[in-house]
């Protein structure tokens, strides 16, 4: 479980996050949605400790991130898996070495055992047989899936996905969404996904937090989102004219 209590962040005079309160539960795909510039990425970077909040407290289970010392923070980070928007694979390493990297760094075991774990993770994301390819030889969707495989290789308790669908076609996007949903349910981990892709939100948003200009203005699930009377949220959900007309017709 991850709990945010009054998280605020300013860059200069500009308030990017303003008094955010939220709780993200395990076994659910928690989604943070909002238009571009609403503060989603800063919130995610704050949650993983890359950005320090100006105010507020952030709890991983019972431990407060701000009060952890270096060792505790490193220990926590080994329980975190993250899929970056660009996948952030190490370009100079093959797919196999990308997945072996965290294993060799933190859980060195016999070569066979580590390769077995890598093979399992690649199989899990449907990329068995790509071990010897370099990231430059992979498509956008494959890179994301390798990114997910690398994120789960250490069996994390917390999975963060920053815009996992950006740059992907709808079919591949849904495939990535299902993969994230399956992994979340299978391992009962706390998953947080940053997105503004409404297909993803409606497909697997178990718990949705909507950010508008750095403030949380709505919270609910994918059933409630279609009935919300939050205007900025509706502008995001019903962004196209077609959907706006559909909404008006259906009342």
């Amino acid at each position: 479980m991850i709990s945010l209590q009054g998280i605020s962040k300013k860059f200069g005079d500009k308030s990017v996050l303003d008094d955010i309160h939220a709780t993200f539960l395990p076994g659910k795909v928690n989604m943070v949605i909002g238009a571009s510039g609403s503060g989603k990425s800063v919130l995610m970077k704050t949650m993983v400790g890359l950005v320090k909040p100006d105010a507020g407290r952030l709890f991983y289970k019972d431990l407060e991130l701000g009060e952890m010392d270096g060792d505790q923070r490193n220990e926590l980070r080994q329980k975190i898996g993250m899929l970056f928007q660009s996948a952030a694979l190490f370009d100079s390493l093959t797919v196999l070495d990308n997945l072996l990297f965290p294993l060799r760094m933190f859980r060195p075991a016999s070569k066979a055992a580590m390769q077995e774990r890598v093979a399992y993770c690649l199989e899990r994301v449907g990329l068995a047989g790509t071990e010897m390819l370099f990231p430059s030889e992979l498509s956008g969707g494959m890179k994301k899936r390798v990114g997910i495989a690398r994120a789960i290789v250490l069996e994390p308790q917390f999975l963060f996905c920053d815009e996992p669908n950006s740059g992907l076609d709808p079919k591949t996007s849904i495939r990535i969404d299902h993969l994230i949903q399956d992994i979340t349910n299978e391992y009962q981990i706390t998953t947080i996904v940053n997105t503004h892709d409404m297909n993803s939100v409606l497909e697997c948003g178990d718990h949705i937090v909507f950010l508008y200009k750095g403030r949380k203005t709505w919270e609910g699930d994918r059933q409630l989102i279609l009935k919300s009377d939050n205007e900025p949220l509706n502008e995001l959900v019903y962004a196209t004219r077609f959907l706006q007309q559909f909404r008006q017709k259906s009342g």
Binding site: L89, F101, P108
Partner: protein, 245 residues
């Protein structure tokens, strides 16, 4: 104020670099990889530059000093001394600042802009320690060796050019070289090599590691790294000469 901001951030980067590695074996492997890339990858250009440096310095010495009352052996003495004291360590370091410095800055800059450094940090790896540390260690060990190679090739180049063009013979060159050789000069050259190696690796890493933005900023960081390294090498060259000679 800007200088103090960057200098403070540079010192903080160096402090982070000295943290205990998460896995010594992985760090050692990365250090060996960097040593191979920096050392073996630069031998060719260093030897090429050094041979011509020695040759040109021999020809120019003969051109300027030939007179009936000056012994021809002085050419060997001047080429050897200038190779050891200045041409070997300083010119080689300037060449390496361009090659290795820009390489380090652009590699780290690209890793920063493509979120690979963030990925390392989130995994629990200290990115400064893992990415910068091995590069600094590799430069500190390989650049002095490259400087020794450069000095040797420069002297050899001068000697070969003198022989081929008939300016002086091998024996005359060697006699001149031996007559004024001081082992302390080699120590001085190594002091310069180690100092310049630290400047090249750490300053370039600083510029690359703190890139903010995309391809344009990576290019700028690479250029800045080379310029700052060259300025520091020239400044350090003067200060070391004043202190140690």
């Amino acid at each position: 104020m800007n200088f103090f901001y960057h200098f403070g951030r540079y010192l903080m980067m160096l402090r982070l670099m000295l943290r205990k590695p998460e896995n010594g074996r992985m760090y050692w492997e990365e250090t060996v990889r960097q040593m191979s890339s920096i050392g073996l990858g630069s031998v060719g250009i260093v030897a090429f530059v050094a041979v011509f440096m020695g040759g040109v310095s021999a020809v120019q010495t003969v051109y300027q000093l030939v007179a009936p009352y000056i012994s021809l052996t002085v050419v060997g003495s001047i080429v050897t001394n200038s190779s050891i004291l200045e041409l070997g360590p300083s010119i080689t370091s300037l060449v390496l600042a361009g090659k290795i410095g820009s390489n380090i800055a652009s590699e780290l800059g690209y890793m920063r802009s493509s979120e690979q450094i963030d990925a390392l940090e989130i995994m629990g790896v200290n990115p400064v320690s893992y990415l910068v540390g091995p590069k600094v260690v590799a430069c500190l060990t390989m650049i002095p060796l490259l400087v020794i190679t450069s000095i040797s090739m420069s002297i050899l180049g001068g000697m070969v050019i003198c022989q081929l063009t008939g300016l002086i013979t091998f024996d005359q060159f060697i006699e001149g070289a031996r007559s004024t050789f001081l082992p302390y000069d080699v120590f001085f050259a190594m002091c310069k090599a180690v100092t310049f190696a630290f400047f090249i690796s750490s300053v370039s890493a600083y510029h690359g590691y703190h890139v903010q933005g995309g391809a344009l900023e990576v290019g700028r960081a690479s250029t800045k790294a080379v310029v700052y390294c060259c300025v520091l090498i020239l400044l350090g060259d003067y200060i070391l000469a004043q202190l140690l000679l």
